[in-house]
């Protein structure tokens, strides 16, 4: 074997050290990755966020259940994987936002992170409504999509009328004053109902949390000339409230046998109408429905636990789902005219 010159020998030693260093670095990185995998449980977010259709609702509610269980019960850090998420509807997004806010309050020091979505519009929605802030994702994202720019959100735990302007104030001039007043009425009565009834017992979601703040969350969204306002609480739901607050009514609801939650919502609305006998407008839940009663093309949906009540074009319908949202979510939809429509008319 040829004897190395002193220079070549030093060089070989230097290269060998470098190689060793690289191997060590790789080892450290690998062990860090394994450790990271052990620390963070990855939960895949649903492809579509909505509670209005059966299959998507089931995926979303299972995901929310896993999120509650992993973070709050098992105290395990979670990385939410949004990479496959394609569509975010206001109802499912608000429920997710509310659950995530509550989980953040209950989680202690457990970390929540995310893998961002591949879909650009979904990323903009997550940024715009504040979900990225909740999961500590700080990458700068510019909101460019028209229907994302108009998403607004608010939350609170008191009956504060000023919050109305945070989400709907900039629609002044685009919606008729009477409708604006009706929406204000619906919003404040929803807050009042939430404050008085939603949190009177422990939410049966398995976490057994006592003495929760009477929190509510709200979104507004404008899309294709339709204003959508969504309000939700994470209380015991209307079917959970009735046995406590209205036992006689609850007995009647039970006689229906099936679709209990849906019947409970419908009966609670009906009762708040007949109770007063007023001709101008109802009370309590009925007011939430009457918000859009005289609006052409208006629609209201009330989801509570497993039930759903819909009023559209003076026609009421109810439906029952298998999965429980553990709370109440109200969606008002009304057509509005855009300011730009007026300006183009000159």
């Amino acid at each position: 074997m040829k004897k190395l010159t002193p220079y070549a020998r030093t060089r070989q030693i230097r290269l060998a050290r470098k190689h060793l260093c690289r191997i060590r670095k790789k080892k450290i990185l690998r062990s860090k990755r394994i450790k990271f995998r052990e620390i963070f449980a990855v939960l895949k977010a649903p492809d579509i966020f909505t509670i209005s259709s059966k299959d998507n609702r089931r995926s979303l509610l299972r995901f929310l259940g896993k999120l509650r269980e992993t973070i709050v019960l098992h105290k395990h850090a979670v990385r939410i994987d949004f990479s496959g998420t394609q569509k975010m509807f206001a109802d499912g997004t608000l429920l997710f936002y509310a659950e995530l806010s509550r989980i953040k309050r209950l989680k202690g020091s457990v970390e929540i992170r995310c893998f961002p979505p591949r879909n650009d519009k979904v990323a903009q929605v997550l940024k715009q409504v504040g979900i990225f802030d909740l999961v500590g994702y700080r990458k700068k994202i510019e909101t460019t999509h028209d229907d994302v720019i108009h998403w607004r959100s608010a939350n609170g735990h008191e009956v504060i009328g000023e919050k109305f302007d945070e989400v709907l104030g900039h629609y002044d001039g685009q919606i008729a004053e009477a409708l604006s007043k009706n929406l204000y009425l619906g919003f404040t009565e929803a807050m009042t109902n939430c404050h008085h009834h939603a949190y009177i017992d422990v939410r049966p979601d398995g976490l057994n949390v006592m003495q929760e703040p009477k929190e509510w969350w709200m979104f507004s969204q404008e899309r294709d000339g339709l204003l959508t306002v969504v309000f939700c609480d994470l209380g015991i739901g209307i079917p959970g409230t009735l046995p406590i607050k209205k036992p006689t009514l609850w007995q009647r609801v039970q006689s229906f046998g099936s679709k209990l939650d849906a019947h409970a919502i419908q009966e609670a609305i009906g009762e708040s109408r007949t109770r007063t006998g007023l001709h101008h407008r109802g009370k309590g839940l009925r007011q939430l429905v009457d918000v859009i009663a005289k609006v052409d093309g208006g629609q209201v949906n009330i989801f509570s636990n497993r039930g759903r009540f819909t009023l559209k074009s003076d026609s009421e319908s109810i439906s029952q789902f298998k999965d429980d949202i553990y709370g109440t979510l109200i969606i008002w939809q009304v057509p509005i005219r855009r300011l730009s429509d007026d300006s183009t008319r000159g």
């Binding site: 007043k181 007023l278 007011q287």
Partner: protein
């Protein structure tokens, strides 16, 4: 002599909402305790201008005006004491309804 005037939006809140004090700062009970009960106790008439707010929920109106009846003032006294001023006649009718049914909030 001109009647004293309370403008809800100016003198109380542009955002009246909620029923009880614990609901929030602009509740029906807060309005009743601040303006209605003193006027009823002192037997002085009061004009209440309702326009200019964002709107009214029935919880606010019922607790303010129906609540005055529950406190112990007769419905006709409550009606006579307050002159309700609004462009929205259905709002005035609604408040009168709450006064008449004040002893039965639910």
């Amino acid at each position: 002599m001109t009647q004293p005037v309370v403008n809800v939006a100016r003198d109380f809140s542009k955002y009246p909402a909620g029923r009880y004090l614990e609901d929030g700062p602009a509740s029906g009970q807060a309005f009743r305790d601040k303006f209605l009960i003193p006027a009823l106790k002192e037997e002085r008439r009061l004009a209440i201008e309702l326009d200019g707010t964002r709107g009214y929920g029935s919880s606010f109106l019922e607790e303010a005006f129906g609540g005055a009846v529950r406190v112990g003032f007769a419905p006709n006294i409550v009606k006579q004491t307050f002159t309700l001023v609004s462009d929205d006649r259905s709002l005035v009718a609604e408040i009168h309804d709450y006064i008449e049914h004040g002893s039965d909030p639910e």
